[in-house]
Symmetry: C2
Subunit: 571 residues, 2 copies
Amino acid sequence: MTGKWEDVAAEKRARIENSIPQEWRIQQQPAGDSVFDYPAKSGILTAGELAITESSASELVTKLARGGAEIRRGDRSILQESCISTPTGKTEPFVSPTIPILLAAEVDGIQVNCCLEFFPEAAIAQAKELDQYFETYKKPVGPLHGLPISLKDQLRIKGLETSMGYVSWVGKYDTDESVLVTLLRKAGAVFYTKTSVPQTLMVCETVNNIIGRTLNPRNKNWSCGGSSGGEGAMVGIRGGVIGVGTDIGGSIRVPSAFNFLYGIRPSHGRLPYAKMANSMEGQETVHSVVGPIAHSAADLRLFLTSVLGEEPWKYDSKVVPMPWRLSEEEKIQDKILSSGLTLGIYSCDGVVLPHPPVLRGIEIVKSVLEQHKHTVIPWTPHRHDFGHTLVNAIYTSDGCTDVNENIRASGEPPIPNIKDLLNPANKKIDMNQLWDTHLQKWAFQNEYLEKWREAEERLGKELDAIIAPITATAAIRHDQFRYYGYASVVNLLDFTSVVVPVAFADKSLDVKNPNFKPLNELDGLVQAEYDPEAYHGAPIAIQVIGRRLSEERTLAIAEEIGRLMGNSTTP
Amino acid sequence: MTGKWEDVAAEKRARIENSIPQEWRIQQQPAGDSVFDYPAKSGILTAGELAITESSASELVTKLARGGAEIRRGDRSILQESCISTPTGKTEPFVSPTIPILLAAEVDGIQVNCCLEFFPEAAIAQAKELDQYFETYKKPVGPLHGLPISLKDQLRIKGLETSMGYVSWVGKYDTDESVLVTLLRKAGAVFYTKTSVPQTLMVCETVNNIIGRTLNPRNKNWSCGGSSGGEGAMVGIRGGVIGVGTDIGGSIRVPSAFNFLYGIRPSHGRLPYAKMANSMEGQETVHSVVGPIAHSAADLRLFLTSVLGEEPWKYDSKVVPMPWRLSEEEKIQDKILSSGLTLGIYSCDGVVLPHPPVLRGIEIVKSVLEQHKHTVIPWTPHRHDFGHTLVNAIYTSDGCTDVNENIRASGEPPIPNIKDLLNPANKKIDMNQLWDTHLQKWAFQNEYLEKWREAEERLGKELDAIIAPITATAAIRHDQFRYYGYASVVNLLDFTSVVVPVAFADKSLDVKNPNFKPLNELDGLVQAEYDPEAYHGAPIAIQVIGRRLSEERTLAIAEEIGRLMGNSTTP
């Protein structure tokens, strides 16, 4: 990198701007705080196009598997008759992957500001190759044939930059590809954008010194969440159908929650992380994991089954050789039809009390489950104060050497959101202290398993999952994210967690708690942020927590909850 | 600990001595270098008793599952008519678990010197409880009902000491039980001894300042291997049927090899390590793993299936929720019956050339496999020099602080075998250096997977496993173990590895290599140790290496090789 950091960032911004073809740019910025309805209301998309953007990934791949797409740049007629016969001999309409690309351009145009890389030409070339394949072999290349997938800017594609939200990384072009990108490509996915992240990745909002802040399409005063915030915003406004995020302390789940989306944090070792960029690369005490964000549990499953179908364990040594276990999923489905599920629930972790909308979200889920004959029992969060403190110590175990070096390399300032992270009191620990930390973590995980077993012994049956808040707040106002514990203790446990969107904050229902007494200073600060007016309409979500590597079961439970809530496919 | 270390050790030795009941002690020490035939030749066991000690674990549990055992201390008539009817209505003879207990006492009496704890009374009490259970419920408590299992002195049992080979640990009595002990107990196993380990565990021989050196029953001039050397010796002379060892750099596999036994190093996360003692506890860059040592692949499988049947992942967060996958085993069995297996093979890792007996062992296996229509292709060891250097650096990443503190706590001297480990040049690394080490390890693992995939692409079929030496030597002479790379690179890769006994060194066949030119100083030193006369009769083994968490497949392949070699059940 040469030159002042401001110049480097400005040059990168200009390149992002120029990546949007002229004919796709919108001339008039929409007014108001929300741009959420802009794609539908502005008339920039036809009814047919809108129908496509509102399709689920599962629907799209079904259509795409019937025939390739003729991609015509600048041509906005997306739906057309295919010349390719289906196995039944009938010609069918087919879907072009350009539509989300177009929409992505619009989204960026209306300053949701979620792209760090945008490469429609490469996407169209990739889609054409897939068409060619289909024409030659009369079958899709894989289960994601033609499906556009957006990537958090940690995933590497040859020839593109991976900025990681650091100015100092701008200008470094990738010479290799992340394993997940390779396998998604084999499965047929088309890539068109890499989305924004906060500087360091260690924040549940999305701000960096390259393109600034990524906004929540539903209300520009709210955060899109982070660190996979670009994905949250992009998929949230249906500029994408499935987005790929990562999570070391809530970074998949918080953007999912804040954008009324589903997101899964698989346990470490389920999906391949090899050759992705990362903050504090090589830190293995609490692993960052990669996973999808989408509009439904079914679309999350499509992603997982498609990636596992490529046998990622043959490419990435950290991946467990465990194909999708349909039998595990079916056990849950059988229970749903017979005895019902048995679920633990908690609304407060004993450290920070959630805002009234989140407490109501938990109550709604509890009530709906009980109405449908599922058993919901109270779960006592086991030493979450300890877990939260331990995981924070792990995040700073190198005294933030890695983070500081990456910031200083360009001279850019740290974003305000990482003030706690950069506290000089966070000293580098030594090897024997780290080993002691490992033992504390393991003991904590095993205690939690013991509590789970004890609950099952008391119940005389399996405890299928635990329902909990994922954040203390609904989609949060900017620069207010202070407490990560609802998410991060799950990372420390390495439990599987699926976020399910539940409802929206309502100023008439979610009044301030008049009896609130803070448990501690942080609790007071978090609760003080609540303002029924400012949060009116903000998405509320819960997380469904299963034991380690329980993706099949936990996702099936999340799907059932979404179904009961009426949130299973559309918001 | 109080007093001089010599006194502490002497007092511990006296307690071990006193734990052997007077009536079980032998009066006359056998003469000669080998005590291997002593149990059979001395007349201390009847023909019936000997038949029991030579039974496989699988045979024993089948008999034990038919009825409990009347344990009579001091009564040497072990085989008797049972009063308990079998399901077929026939009365059957049954087996008492005392026999291996008795034999253990003999073994210790003849100074193989393999026990750090010996507790026959507790074992007999446990066996009586199992009898009671059987009488009440008319069924076994679990798949290991009544089977004696010996434990390396890292596994904790309430009320006993875990010395770890450190004098400073003597006198610390365990207040909790290792998860594996709990689960084996649930499965019906009976515990009677905890076996010897080298000071630090970081050595492939077994020497400590508490009881001295554990010897190889086949020849007292040879090492029993290490660090699970007590298990190797104990099971080797059939003082036990299945022993539990651990392996961070060969510590299950080397004692298996040196005692003509089968041993499996499962991948990390397959079996529960929680609440076991360990050297350098909390070090997680290369995990120590726990696994069985036995006389056959079938007995290893019995152990694995029994433990997995107890769902260890509900007790230990590091265990992958993966029951025994019969389908994976059957895939190998199907191949054996149809196309045959496809196996890579190497005899030299490019760092140290094995001694002539080991090279012959590899040739024997290759030749037998090819005679039976299996495909054997050369495998090029990928950067084993790098892997071997990296794993050594990991072992000393705390500058040996942990090891030194445990040695110094009693004032005992370090054993001579850890001279390299304690080299003052081994400095503690810092957190960012560790993270870099993690990345190097991960990249190396992924490169190895890539080589495996490339081989499969060339072959157009699966490469089922790789066959390799497990040590550079046959059962080694004392204090000569210098090169750990054949074992430790597999630990770095976290691949599954099963040791198969192959043959015995033969001075007429295994002549010194006249054309040997050392690749490096270490290679020269290792080769110089070879002496056809001194090694005549020493056990030779190979390891079968499968990808991570491939226990079912790799064990099935090991079993087939053993079967073809005629070593599948008896030596």
